[in-house]
Symmetry: D2
C-alpha cells in the first residue's frame, strides 16, 4: 500500500518558460489549501542532489503569477543522469521528509523523473512547461501561448519597417525539432511563407512563392524559419540564396532568440498553469504516480510519463493548409 | 438541389471583437484561393438592407490581421428584425448576385441569419465573434483571448499601485450574463475574489474572504466583479458597503469598460479566426447551411445555429474550484 | 559647519508613480558607490515616525528597476503634519544614525520635508515622483511619461471599437489641478477635443467641435476630460448633455482611474529616475539641503523646495495650439 | 522677395522611424488648418524624381498617428545625388505647383535638401526622424523614444530567462556611429555593462566588470553592445572571448535588429512629431528655409541644415557616469 503523502516538493527543470511561476504558485497554494506541507527545490535536479530546499507557504508565492522565468531557477543537470546522482537526490528527499515531487519542465525532465520513480518507487508527477508545445499528452504546454504572442508582436513591428521599404525579412524562431511556434506565429503574423522542420518544401517553391507575392503587389514579405527547418540552409544562407536568385528583393534577417522564452505570461498560460498545479497535487494525493498532467479542450487529463516522452506532437495538418490559403 | 455557390458575402454584426478582421481576411482569402467571388457588406445587416457592398480580393485585406475592431464596421439593426427589412436585404443580395453569406458576430446576429435562411432558403454560415466566450458549440469565440489579456494587463498595473498603498480594488469587467471573462482574468490576475453572474456567494462570504486576506498578510486585494454579478450591489455600492463594514481597507473602484473590446488581437485569436474563416467558406461550398463554425480542442466543428443560440455556455466548475484554491 | 554625511535614508511618500523603484535603486546604489551607508524607510513619513527602517546595499535593489509601484510602500501621514509627529520622526532618525534623507514624492511630501528641515536643521533632498508632471523646477516628473503612454495605449484600444461603431467616447484621465496628462495623451492619441482644468472652452464650443468632426466624416470621436476640468459637468453629465443636444452620436464613457499610476516604467522614466537619484545623493554630500532635483533639457538642476511647492507648472500654450490644429 | 507659399509637399526619406506618420499627419493638418494645399510625395526623393505625388487633406491622415513605419514609404535614392536627378525632381515639383517641401529623415536626407535648396532656391524644411537621436540641433529625434522602449522591453524579457539560468547575455542594439540607444536603453534596462562607439573601455575592463558582477551575487548579466562599438570584436566574437577567458559564465547572444525601427510610437514621439510638423509648416510660411526643426527642453527651435548635418550629437558624459554608478 502506498505511503500517505504529507509533504510535496516542487521544482523547475530544463529550459524555463513563461508561466512556470504560476505553476509553482499553484502547487504551493494547493498544498496549503489541502493542508499538506510543501517545499521548493532550487536549480532543478542539481538542487535536489545538493539539498537546496526551502519550505513554502501560501504567502511565499505572492506576486509571482505575472512574472516570467522561474523563481526556483532552473538548470540542466548531468549528475542526475547517473545512478549515483539520483541516489544522492533520493537521500536528500528522504532526509527532508519529502513524500513526492512535482517537476515542471519538458521531456528530459520527465525522463529523469520516470527513471527516479522506477528506481525508488518515489511518487512523481510532471507538468509540461516548455515554449515548444511539442509534448505528447497535452494540447498546450505552459509558455507556448506567451511565446507565440511575443513572436507575433515582434513581427508586427518588423512589418512596419518592412512595408515602408518594400523589404523581405527572414525571421528565425525557436523550434529545433518541431514547427509549432513557427506555424502558429506565422499564421498569426500573416507571414508569406513558413519553413518548419516537419516539411521540406524546397528552395524552388520558396522562390516561386516570393515571386508571386511580389507580383501580387504586396509591399513586404515575411518568411518565418524555425531553427530546425529542413530546407538545408540557415537563415543567413537563405538570405544570400534569395538575393542571388531573386534580385528584386532587399533582404534582411532577424534571429529572435531568447526573448521568446521570457516575458510576462499571457492570461492563457497563467490559467493553464494554475489548473495544472491543482491537478498535479490532487493526482499525487489520489495515489497516482509517474504521470504528466495535460489538457484536452477544457479537460485536465493524465498521461503516463512513459508515453509522454515518446517523440513530439506532430504539427496540425489542417493549420498548414490554412497557412497555405492565407498566403494567397 | 442546392444552387452552386459562386459568390459569397461576409459581414460583421453586433458588438465588435478583436480578431474580426482576421476572420474577414480569412473568408476573403479562402474565396480567392478557391476562385470564388467575394463581396464585403458594410455596417452589418443595415448595410445588407442598403446594399452597402464592395467586391473584395486577396489584396483588399492586406495588413488587417493585426488590427482590432472591424474594417467592415458593425451596427445593431432593428429593421432586419422585421420581415420587410429582411425582404429588402434579400433583394439586395440577389441583385448583387450573392449566393451565400458568412456572418461574424454573436447570438443576435446568428438568430437573424437563421430566420433569414428559413425565409429565403439562403445559405448562411456563422462565425462566433464576441469577447464573452458564451456561445454554445465552441470552446472559444474570437476576441475572448484578447479581452482576458487586456484585463489581466490592466490589473497587473493596478496591482502595482494597490500593493504600494495596501488597498482594496473592485474592478468591474464585461459579462452581463456570463462570468467567463471575470473568472479567467480573475484567475490569471491572481484576484482574491471573483464575483460572477452564475453564482451569488453573498456579501458575508465576501467580507469574510477580505478579512482573511488582510489577516494573512497580503499587501493588497483585487476583487473582480462581472457586470451582471448577482450579489445585489453594483461595484460602487460594493465599495460603500465594504468601507462601512470593514473599515480596515482603503477601497477603490475601477470600471474597465470598452477598452476590453479593442486592441490588437492575440496570436490565439488571429489563428482561431483564420481557421474559422476557411472552415466557413468550405462548409458553404460543401452545401452546408445554417451552421456556426466552432472549435473543440484542435478540431473545427459545425453546430446548427438553432442549437448555438440556445442560451450561454456555462462557466467551468473546475475553474471556479481552482479559483477558490488559488486565493488560499 | 555642516555635519559630515555618512548615512542617508530614502523614502517614498504620497501617491506612488512608476519609476519610483528606479529612483530608490539609484539612491541606494549611489550610496554604495560612494561608500556611504543607506537605509530604506518603509511607508513614507509614517514609517519614519515608527522607525520602520531597513539597511540597504547594492544587491537589495536588484531587479526592481522595471517594476511599477514602490517596494518601500507609500502612505499619506497626518501625524507628520504635527510638531509631535515630526519630533518622533527626528528621534527615530537620530537613533538610527541617519544624517540626511531623500524623499521621492510630490508637493505635499516636499512641504513636510522642508518644515522638518527648518525645525531640525536636518539635511533633506526631494526627488519629484508623480504622474501629474505639475511640479515647478523640473520639466519632467518621474512617472509622467509612463502614465501618458498607458493612457495612449488604452485610447488606441478604445479607438478600435469606437471606429467600428461610429461612436463618441468621453475618457476621463487623472489631473485634478493640471491638464498635463490630458493634453499630452490627448495629442498623442489624436483626440478630437481635450478638456483641461486650465481652460473652460464652454459647452457650446464642444458641441460645435463635435458637429464639425461628424460632418467632416470622422468615423469616431474621442474627447479627453481631465478630472478637474472646468466645464462644469463631470464625464457622465457630459454624456447626458451631448446625447440630449447632439442626438447624432452614440456616446460612451470610460474612466481610466488608477491603472494610470501603475505599469512597468518606460525607459524615459527609468533613466530620469536613475539620474535624479545620483544627483540627490551627490547634492547632499556637497552640503546642499532643502532642494528638489529637477531636469531642464538634459541638465540636472536644483530648485529650493520653498519654490518648488509654489503652485503648479502651467500647461504649455504652444501644445494647446498644436492640439487645436491637429483636430482640424 | 520670396514667392508666397501656397502648396507644400511632404516626404519621408532614408531609414524609417516610429512617429514619422504622426509628423506627416501634422504637416498635412497644419496645411489644412492654415488653408494651404498639401501634397504627399511617395518613396522619398525617388518619388520626387518620378512625380509620385498625391494631394492630401485633413482626412487623408485619419488613424495613422499610432502606426509605425511611414505611409509614404521611404527609399534611399542614388539619383538624387546627381545634378540630373535633382533637376528632374525640381521639374516635377514645379509642374505640380509645389512651392516648398518638408522632408522627414536624417542627415543624408537633409544634405540632399540643402543642396537642392542651394541649386534651385527652393524652400525646404527638415524634421529629424531617426531612431539614432544623433542629429545636431535637437535634444530628441522622432523615433528614438520608441526605439529605447522597444529595446528595454525586450531586455526585460531576456532578463527573465537569464536570471532563471544564471546566464550572461550580449545584446546588440542599433547605433553604428553613436551610442545613444545603447546608453539610454542600457541604463533603463539595468545592464551590467554598455559598450558604445564613443568609448573603448577595453576587453580587460569588461572581464573585470563581469567577474565583479558574478562575485557580487547577481543572478544574471546583460551587456549591451552598440553595432559600432570600438572594442574590436563583434558580439559573437565577444561571446567566444568571454567564454574562453571567463568560463564561469554560460554566454548567449541576441542581435535585436530591425524590430528597433518598428512598433507603435510612444506618446512622446507622437507629441514631438505633432509639434515639429506644425513648426515646420509655420516656419516655411514665415519665409524661413534650409532649416531643421528641433526641440530644446520644451521649446521648438530652428537650426540651419548646414549645421545640423555636421557630425553627430555626442553622448551625455553625465549619463555615462550614471551608468557606471548604477552597475555598482
Amino acid at each position: 500500500m502506498a505511503k500517505e503523502i504529507k509533504k510535496i516538493a516542487v521544482l523547475t527543470s530544463g529550459g524555463d518558460s513563461p508561466g512556470m511561476n504560476a505553476a509553482i504558485r499553484s502547487v504551493v497554494r494547493t498544498c496549503a489549501y489541502l493542508e499538506i506541507e510543501c517545499v521548493a527545490i532550487y536549480r532543478g535536479y542539481q538542487g535536489m542532489i545538493e539539498g537546496d530546499f526551502k519550505p513554502m507557504n501560501a504567502r511565499s508565492v505572492n506576486n509571482i503569477i505575472n512574472k516570467g522565468g522561474t523563481i526556483l531557477k532552473s538548470a540542466r543537470c548531468l549528475e542526475f543522469r547517473t545512478p549515483e546522482g539520483r541516489k544522492k537526490a533520493h537521500d536528500q528527499l528522504v532526509k527532508a521528509g519529502v513524500d513526492a515531487f512535482v517537476v515542471i519542465g519538458g521531456n528530459g525532465s520527465f525522463t529523469g523523473a520516470m527513471i527516479f520513480n522506477n528506481e525508488f518507487d518515489f511518487p512523481v508527477m510532471g507538468i509540461p512547461g516548455t515554449i515548444d508545445n511539442d509534448i505528447i499528452g497535452t494540447s498546450y504546454t505552459i509558455g507556448f501561448d506567451t511565446a507565440i504572442n511575443t513572436v507575433v508582436e515582434v513581427i508586427d513591428k518588423i512589418r512596419d519597417t518592412a512595408s515602408s521599404h518594400n523589404r523581405l525579412f527572414f525571421i528565425e524562431v525557436m523550434g529545433r525539432d518541431v514547427g509549432h511556434i513557427a506555424l502558429n506565429a506565422g499564421v498569426g503574423a500573416g507571414a508569406e511563407e513558413i519553413l518548419i522542420p516537419e516539411q521540406n518544401l524546397g528552395l524552388e517553391r520558396l522562390l516561386d512563392s516570393l515571386k508571386r507575392s511580389k507580383k501580387s503587389g504586396k509591399s513586404s514579405s515575411i518568411v518565418i524559419v524555425a531553427e530546425g527547418d529542413k530546407i538545408g540552409k540557415n537563415v543567413f544562407e537563405l538570405k544570400d540564396y534569395v538575393e542571388e536568385h531573386l534580385p528584386i528583393y532587399d533582404v534582411r534577417v532577424s534571429v529572435l532568440g531568447h526573448m521568446q522564452r521570457g516575458g510576462n505570461p499571457t492570461c492563457f498560460d497563467r490559467v493553464l498553469a494554475s489548473r495544472m498545479g491543482v491537478k498535479a497535487v490532487e493526482a499525487l494525493l489520489e495515489g497516482k504516480t509517474n504521470y504528466m498532467v495535460g489538457i484536452r479542450d477544457n479537460d485536465l487529463i493524465l498521461t503516463p510519463i512513459s508515453e509522454a516522452i515518446k517523440g513530439h506532437t506532430p504539427v496540425d495538418e489542417e493549420l498548414i493548409r490554412v497557412s497555405d490559403i492565407m498566403t494567397t
